[in-house]
Amino acid sequence: MTMVSMMPPQVRIRRQTASGRIALALFVLAVIGLAAMPWWAKTGTIRMVLELCCYVAVAQMWNMLAGYAGLVSVGQQAFMGASGYALFVLAQTFGVNPFLAVFLSLLVPLVLAVPCYLLLHRLDGPYFAIGTWVVAEVFRLVASNLPLVNAGAGMSLSVMKDYSAFQRNIAMSLFCALLVLVSIGGSYWFLRSRFGLALIAMRDNPVAAASQGVNVRRLRFMIYVAAAVGCGLVGAVYFMAQLRINPPSAFDPMWSNIAIFIVMVGGIASIEGVLIGTLIYFIADRWFGEYGASYFVVLGVMTVLVALYARTGIWGMIAARWDAPWFPIRRHLVLERDKP
């Protein structure tokens, strides 16, 4: 030990790493590339990429809920369907510009999430999860009985015919970029903010975090509402591209299956895990999707195995070996050498 001076050691807080800078640059390039798709990709490709972006966003929302806020939901499809329907009603029934309506429709999950959370947070641990499923079922049944949304028959978004294929491609590409920017970029920003520190403290130990002044209840509430709006954005964009919506598709529990698979296999409580998991799911879906039921049996068994033997998922295994995060959110104290 050579440090004998009485001065406090020079400490610097390091919040970015080399790997993080590279990843951030790639992320910016990817968002630009997504926005520019109409000039380099065919319509079919754009639709495929849109689906991929929806998976990323839904999975990241689930990751924020389960991985950081400790709120396991199996009913986020409630908010996807709600804003999907809101878009169709605004654009088709009331003639609002559909692209504007995407944003307006986000008010619906925002408003609905508040009472939902106030009710659901009373449920203990795992019961919360089943409660979210009941909420999604309630939404589906209400939509199935509501004349405003054409009840069980569903709706079509024929106003989209007013726009050319190229215009629609531009919109879809911009929405792809927005989905990734908001879900990944937004989460990254949020996790690096002071909320993020509180969130990580809360994940590691809610009781201790509460005693350190972290308002656990308010933070959970905020994340629940934010995730509802995030899933709402996915719903509005996804069903705009689909041009049709009906209660079973709008509130399809399959979205929960996908989100859980992606996050658990990729690695919970990490943005990197969501990206890895999405890629795996997307490729698996293209290659094995045609096998239908047996494909889902494999997905289900894999989810069980991850929960039993590899809780941290693929990214967890990678992170244990190499310390090179793509989205560093931890702060490192770096001891600086004394300089003259």
Partner: protein, 285 residues
């Protein structure tokens, strides 16, 4: 008269839901876990029962005699192979594991039995009924309710009076203290899940006698069981039973108002209970 009829039918329907709910209440009470594949296990057992009945020409009660031990074994296996590894403070691992299991089971059943709805031939008991003061009361729903009462009563008695019941309650209260008193938690858990799934053996026979079953139906049964437990009040088997009655009546009355409103009425009662009395109608505050 129409509403009295709805009330009676609702209580009879509640007998069915009570059989789903008992096992869930038991598992949550002891281990604080919810088995997401709870409903899928009912469907799996139902489909196995239907196949047994048609392959060997068995009557419904013979099928029951075969299914209940099978269900007990299945529950024991579920605990040993999966749940014992995920029991703990954090609800995430057990939820994810059973969620994955649910996905796998549903699709496995889809492959084996196809998406068609099936039912168990009851040899006539499913259509017999008696008339009391202008209300038709089906024989089968009455049998279901009698079984539900008997199962609830038996489970309650077992918890209060037997050595195993005391061990279960001790483990539910403080698992580490229980182990310091000589209880093997894993053995107790395995037995609890075996009982919980074993009860589903009864439920499976009645479900497939009363109506039809298809591989995708499990989610609904899980939700009904859950709602019954929460409405009644967590932590007691009679609470789950009474919650099932309330849920059944709510659905039956909702159905009289509008056939599309039946299930929704049950959900609404659940949400109302959650809003006004989160400890459940019959739970202690």
């Amino acid at each position: 008269m129409q509403w009295l009829d709805a009330l009676v039918q609702g209580i009879l329907l509640g007998g069915m839901y009570a059989q789903y709910a008992l096992g869930m209440a038991l598992m949550f009470g002891v281990m604080k876990i919810v088995n997401v594949s709870h409903g899928d296990l009912v469907i799996l057992l139902s489909l196995v029962g239907i196949s047994l009945a048609s392959s060997f020409g068995l009557g419904p009660f013979t099928v029951m005699a075969a299914l209940v031990p099978l269900a007990v074994g299945l529950g024991w296996l579920l605990q040993k192979a999966v749940l014992n590894r995920v029991v703990g403070e954090d609800p995430l691992p057990s939820l994810i594991a059973t969620f994955g299991l649910s996905l796998a089971l549903q699709n496995l059943m889809l492959q084996i039995w196809s998406a068609n709805s099936r039912s168990l031939p009851g040899g006539g008991i499913e259509s017999r009924s008696i008339q009391v003061g202008g209300i038709h009361i089906g024989l089968l729903p009455v049998i279901v309710l009698v079984f539900a009462v008997a199962l609830t009563w038996g489970l309650d008695l077992m918890l209060k009076r037997t050595r195993f019941g005391r061990a279960l309650r001790a483990a539910a209260s403080d698992v580490e203290a229980a182990s310091m008193t000589g209880i093997n938690p894993r053995a107790v858990y395995a037995a609890a899940t075996a009982i919980a799934v074993g009860i589903l053996g009864f439920a499976a026979v009645f479900q497939s006698l009363r109506s039809t079953v298809a591989p995708a139906d499990g989610g609904a049964q899980l939700i009904y069981a859950f709602e019954a437990v929460i409405i009644g009040g967590m932590g007691s088997v009679w609470g789950a039973f009474l919650g099932a009655m309330v849920l059944g009546v709510a659905q039956a009355i909702g159905f009289r108002i509008d056939p599309g409103f039946g299930v929704l009425a049950g959900h609404i009662v659940f949400l109302l209970v959650l809003a006004t009395r989160p400890q459940g109608l019959f739970g202690r505050a």
